[in-house]
């Protein structure tokens, strides 16, 4: 009874030619694309200098650097104070930049939302401007603002603000487009104007979503704020870049550790606030 079943291969083959024939066209295209991707990868790696003595020598040096970074140490107490102060500066930059961006982006988002702005041309230009703002990196904004207000953390605040106006403008307008239109219609029907319709018909509904997005960006901006110091826009990045350039490697690892701890702390705090605002279940959405 437990004997092996005789398999009639020919019959199966004739019943399911699909599984035995040559690979389908989809599959062939995919395989060709995969092969092209691999060839491009190898060619690009050759072009960028992967297959040379530079890579081997570099990895060797990287090992030395990693050894020299241990253990993390700030040097002396004066440095600890300096680093903690500039870490606070970093968090301040991120907080102010995010808040300003949120305040400025809200009216812009209303202009970009389909259900608020009926004027198609206006909406189009608002959206394209937001796209352009978003495709310029935060470091470039930092460099531009340094030209306006000089070196220092204020330029960093403005850089984070500018680049987040682009992000918030898009996210906020999507949130506004997703609202239920009935409350607003009710307000307009009972004699409220457009402004009242937005204030009482849209804002109460989107506020928790917007606030949670702002908190989320506060955390990611703290990461960005650590690097804008590299181009001179304040915060701990200045000290980090300086320590790397002068090869104070133990201080480098100390600062990196400090940043990791700060980002983790802000992550926890902003998550708590977000849950308080929108409830734990909304996290899944």
């Amino acid at each position: 009874m437990a004997g092996r079943m005789k398999v009639d291969t020919a019959a199966i083959r004739s019943r399911h030619p699909h599984y035995f024939g040559p690979p389908a066209r989809d599959r062939q295209v995919l395989m060709l694309a995969g092969a092209a991707a691999v060839i491009l990868l190898v060619a690009a790696m050759a072009e960028l200098g992967f297959f040379g003595a530079k890579l081997i020598g570099g990895i060797d040096k990287l090992g030395d650097i990693a050894v020299l970074m241990m253990p993390p140490s700030p040097g002396d107490w004066a440095h600890v104070r300096l680093y903690l102060l500039s870490l606070m500066e970093t968090i301040a930059i991120s907080f102010l930049g995010t808040l300003l961006a949120a305040v400025i982006a809200l009216p812009i988002a209303l202009l970009a939302a389909r259900n608020v702005t009926v004027q198609r041309v206006l909406r189009f230009f608002t959206r394209r401007s937001l796209d352009i703002i978003r495709s310029v990196d935060i470091l470039i904004w930092a460099l531009i603002w340094i030209n306006v207000v000089g070196l220092g953390p204020f330029a960093g605040v403005l850089a984070i603000m500018t680049s987040d106006i682009g992000n918030f403008g898009k996210l906020f307008s999507e949130a506004i487009e997703a609202v239920d239109r009935k409350p607003r219609e009710g307000i307009v029907a009972s004699g409220g104007g457009a402004v009242l319709g937005i204030r009482f018909g849209i804002l109460p509904e989107v506020f928790p979503v917007l606030a949670s997005q702002v908190l989320y960006f506060f955390e990611s901006n703290t990461r960005s704020a650590t690097i804008i110091g590299i181009v001179g826009a304040g915060g701990i990045g200045l000290h980090l870049a300086e320590a790397i350039r002068t090869l104070e490697l133990q201080q480098v690892s100390f600062i990196i550790l400090l940043i990791l701890v700060a980002v983790a702390a802000i992550d926890v705090v902003s998550n708590q606030l977000r849950f308080a605002l929108i409830g734990r279940r909304a996290r899944l959405a």
Binding site: K54, E89, I256, V263
Partner: protein, 294 residues
């Protein structure tokens, strides 16, 4: 005709109104408290971040004039009046732009390949060893929390100036970011195919290859394409720390006030990013469409 609205007697109404007022008052108090906290935080951070509104509004003219100068050539004409003069360095910039794209491609590809292997070790449902899983997770976390530019700065010391340092920094960051996302994809698969393959006595690798991989591949590619989009932007600024790409020329132009060069390079970057965004989102939609047909 009697009004349909029911009027409660005064005596019954008073306690209800009082409790309503109390509820409103406590909410108002709560919001005021939150506002006060935010205002205090703004005050503190403004001091720390050296916010100087007088300077800002005094120099705001600089911003508009800066933008104005960006679009004027040295001889005072608008840049688009003489595109040849505006894009005098087109050959060099195009080469650097190509290098930037290659950096983004190689960085994404290497990171994605690494993340691909790590994901199966880090996913809670298929991980072969719990201690290995924790180790891989912490490793990915470290890779994505340290900013890309910090890696780039250190790699420039080890590998010298040039795109190699930038690509490796990008690959490490991508490894961390995609490692997490890929692991989440693997955690969301249907376990029945994996169990089926294991039940035939197959090794762990075979179970992954035939049970898990077919369910995850399209999501992997989709996330990698998204990451590629991000990496193109990032690659454009790698040059700021000497790690290759068009950023090197951009920061030089900004620092030396070659205004029309700045706008020329920025425009190239913005257009490239827009084109890449469109192409990758098209590819992702094709991919999702193919997924649904099967």
């Amino acid at each position: 005709m009697a009004s349909p609205v029911v009027h409660l007697p005064e005596a019954q109404l008073r306690p209800l109104l009082a409790s309503y007022d109390a509820a409103v008052r406590s909410r108002r108090f709560h919001s005021l408290l939150v506002m006060a906290c935010i205002v205090a935080a703004i005050g503190l951070s403004s001091v720390s971040a050296e916010v100087d509104l007088a300077k800002f509004f005094g120099n705001l003219g600089n911003f508009t004039s800066y933008i104005w100068r960006l679009f004027h050539l040295d001889n005072g004409a608008w840049v688009w009046a003489d595109p040849v003069e505006w894009y005098w360095g087109a050959a060099r910039w195009l080469r650097l732009l190509g290098e930037t794209l290659l950096m983004a491609y190689v960085g994404t590809a290497l990171g994605a390949i690494g993340a691909f292997f790590l994901a199966f070790l880090a996913a809670a449902n298929v991980a072969p060893r719990p201690w290995l899983r924790l180790l891989v997770r912490r490793f990915c976390e470290l890779c994505r929390t340290v900013p890309q530019l910090v890696f780039a700065l250190m790699f420039v010391i080890a590998f010298g100036l040039g795109p190699l340092a930038g690509v490796l920094a990008m690959a490490i960051h991508t490894l961390g970011a995609l490692g997490k996302l890929f692991a989440e994809v693997v955690e969301n698969i249907d376990m029945k195919p994996v169990e089926g393959v294991s039940a035939t006595g197959a090794h762990w690798t075979a179970a992954m290859r035939y049970g898990a991989l077919p369910q995850t591949l399209s999501n992997f590619v989709s996330y990698s394409l998204l990451r590629f989009e991000i990496n193109v932007r990032e690659a454009a600024v790698m040059g700021f720390v000497g790690a290759g790409g068009i950023g090197m020329d951009l920061i030089e132009a900004i620092r030396k006030f070659y205004y029309s060069d700045v706008s020329a390079i920025l425009l190239m970057i913005v257009v490239t990013v827009a084109v890449i965004d469109t192409l990758t989102s098209m590819a992702r939609h094709r991919l999702i469409g193919m997924e649904e047909r099967h």
